[in-house]
């Protein structure tokens, strides 16, 4: 179907190979999706969607499979990570591209990107031995908490946000900056009013990727959040996320319990899908990012 008669034999061969590879990549993804839904969907329908999503009690031994507390846990932790990661990441990239001397940018950017290569268990370890005790002693609560998880995740997503934001900011033509400065704008005015709007889509993309990473992160989160399956009421409470729930219990779960973990996976899957259909989020982040920034200028 894709191989045309007027192609040379070599072209035909290469076309076949390329399409085979492309289709197998897509079909593997498709198979995984089907597998998760086949395994997880029956339980959801058995206990009912509202009962699964809105029920706060997760007690596999008592056949209670409500994941509301985990959904809330994921939302809290992700929101916290974004609150920490976005301002840090975006301002860091603005500094590196607009203010820092070239040499500093050249040194720092690879180092920040290197942070992405550190295994998440190392972040978790630092969180357990340093951050959690600090929070316990100075702020109260058990230490292993929403706050600890948010801080660790906020740092973990920095390389994603900084790396892509820097590339986008660098791609903004210099003529925009010159045009603004030549009109008598200050450096910050030129950045805030011209460069950032020009780089908006790329920065939002970096944030969305970072957010995807935050939602999916498991190991570090398990280590620093305490993992109790309760709806958190403050940032000092321990929580369990959707990913932690799957990772913690998959090893020994059987029957309905195992199916419930696949069902959790479906919810996680839907979360990720929502994030990546980002038209809504673009508008949302516009207000999250730009309205607060406006206060700096006034």
């Amino acid at each position: 179907m894709f191989v045309k008669d007027n192609m040379s034999t070599k072209d035909k061969l290469i076309t076949c190979v390329i399409y085979t590879v492309a289709f197998s990549a897509i079909s593997i993804l498709l198979l995984i999706t089907i597998f998760i839904f086949r395994k997880g969907a029956p339980l959801i329908f058995k206990i009912g969607i509202p009962n699964f999503i809105m029920n706060k009690t997760w007690a596999p031994l008592g056949s209670q499979y409500g994941i509301f507390s985990m959904i809330m846990g994921t939302i809290w932790i992700t929101a916290g990570a974004m609150i920490i990661g976005i301002p840090l990441g975006v301002s860091c990239s603005i500094y590196l591209v607009e203010y820092a001397p070239l040499i500093i940018r050249k040194i720092l950017k690879p180092i920040i990107e290197l942070l992405a290569g550190i295994p998440s268990v190392v972040y978790g370890f630092i969180g357990v031995v340093m951050l959690a005790p600090f929070i316990r002693i100075h702020m109260g609560g058990p230490g292993l908490s929403v706050l600890a998880g948010s801080i660790i995740l906020g740092i973990m997503i920095l390389p994603t946000i900084v790396g892509i934001s820097i590339d986008t900011l660098q791609a903004v033509p210099n003529s925009y900056r010159e045009g603004a400065l030549a009109l008598g704008a200050t450096k910050w005015q030129s950045i805030y009013k011209v460069v950032l709007p020009a780089a908006r889509n790329g920065i939002i993309a970096s944030i969305i990727l970072g957010m995807g990473r935050a939602i999916g992160e498991t190991m570090a989160v398990i280590m620093v959040t305490g993992n109790s399956a309760n709806v958190p009421h403050s940032i000092l409470d321990p929580v369990r996320t959707l990913t932690s729930n799957i990772a913690l219990e998959m090893g020994y779960a059987t029957g309905d319990h195992q199916q419930a973990l696949f069902s959790t996976g479906i919810v996680l899957f839907i979360f990720i899908m929502i994030i990546n259909t980002n038209h809504l989020l673009k508008i949302y982040f516009y207000y999250l990012l730009y309205l607060p920034l406006q206060f700096f200028v006034l």
Partner: protein, 251 residues
């Protein structure tokens, strides 16, 4: 008539490269002055000294004086923001901001602290009218500026400059990316603007310099070879090099 902008013994180096050598030149009010010369002779460099845009480049050295009225532009104490408000610049390639047409024109006003909405609206309209864009764009004010044709973009860049009411307008080959008809429109516009502003234009186009300017300066290898009334430069130059250049023997 006194010079609005006066350059005295200006020397300029990019690192070790001596780009401008002892330039002396004055630009009069309500006059178009053209800077001509072959590629790389330092026309843009001279122009960018006048509003200190060269400050953005690292490793430059600059000596001499540039007076705007009585004030030395090159002095450390010069407030770049008010300088650039008074001495505006139009670039070679149209560079409207990736914002709406309206925001492009209101940009300068907001930057310089005009907050009154009605006033901004009024000035935006007036500036677009002065740049002959109002009829074309009045229904498209909220459209992205990058969506309009190139010559309108260039006039939009002029409009956003007019909004901050500069005294001197610097233009670095403003027509080099435009077709002849758009070029003609910009030239006519410059003629109109000349009534209020002092304009300095860099151009590669000899006919353009002859058509629109009252004074011309010929630069070669960083030196101001000759500066005189345009008619003199083009009909009766004193320097052989000028003669050679305008008759197209090199450059």
């Amino acid at each position: 008539m006194a010079d609005r902008l006066y350059v005295k013994n200006l020397n300029f180096c990019y690192g070790s490269f001596h780009a401008l050598k002892n330039i002396n030149v004055g630009f009069k009010d309500k006059t178009i002055t053209a800077l001509i010369g072959p590629s790389g002779c330092g026309k843009s460099t001279l122009l960018r000294c006048l509003n200190r845009m060269n400050d953005l480049i690292e490793g430059i050295k600059i000596t001499g004086n540039i007076f705007l009225d009585e004030q030395d532009v090159l002095s450390k104490k010069t407030d770049l923001i008010s300088l650039r408000k008074r001495v505006g610049m139009v670039f070679q390639r149209p560079n409207p901001f990736p914002l709406t047409i309206y925001e492009n024109v209101s940009f300068g006003l907001e930057v310089h602290g005009v907050n009154n909405k009605a006033q901004i609206e009024h000035i935006v309209e007036k500036s677009l009218k002065d740049a002959w864009l109002w009829d074309d764009l009045k229904d498209k004010l909220s459209h992205p500026a990058l969506s309009i044709p190139l010559d309108q973009q260039q006039r939009l860049c002029i409009a956003r400059l007019l909004a901050v009411e500069p005294e001197v307008i610097l233009m670095d080959e403003p027509c080099s990316s435009l077709d002849p008809i758009s070029t003609m429109k910009i030239e006519e516009l410059m003629f109109e603007l000349k009534k209020k502003y002092s304009i300095v234009i860099v151009t590669h186009n000899m006919q353009q310099a002859a058509r629109i300017s009252q004074y011309s300066g010929f630069l070669l290898m960083g030196e101001m070879i000759e500066f005189d009334e345009t008619s003199t430069i083009f009909t009766n130059p004193k320097n052989q090099k000028t003669q050679d250049y305008i008759t197209g023997r090199f450059g």
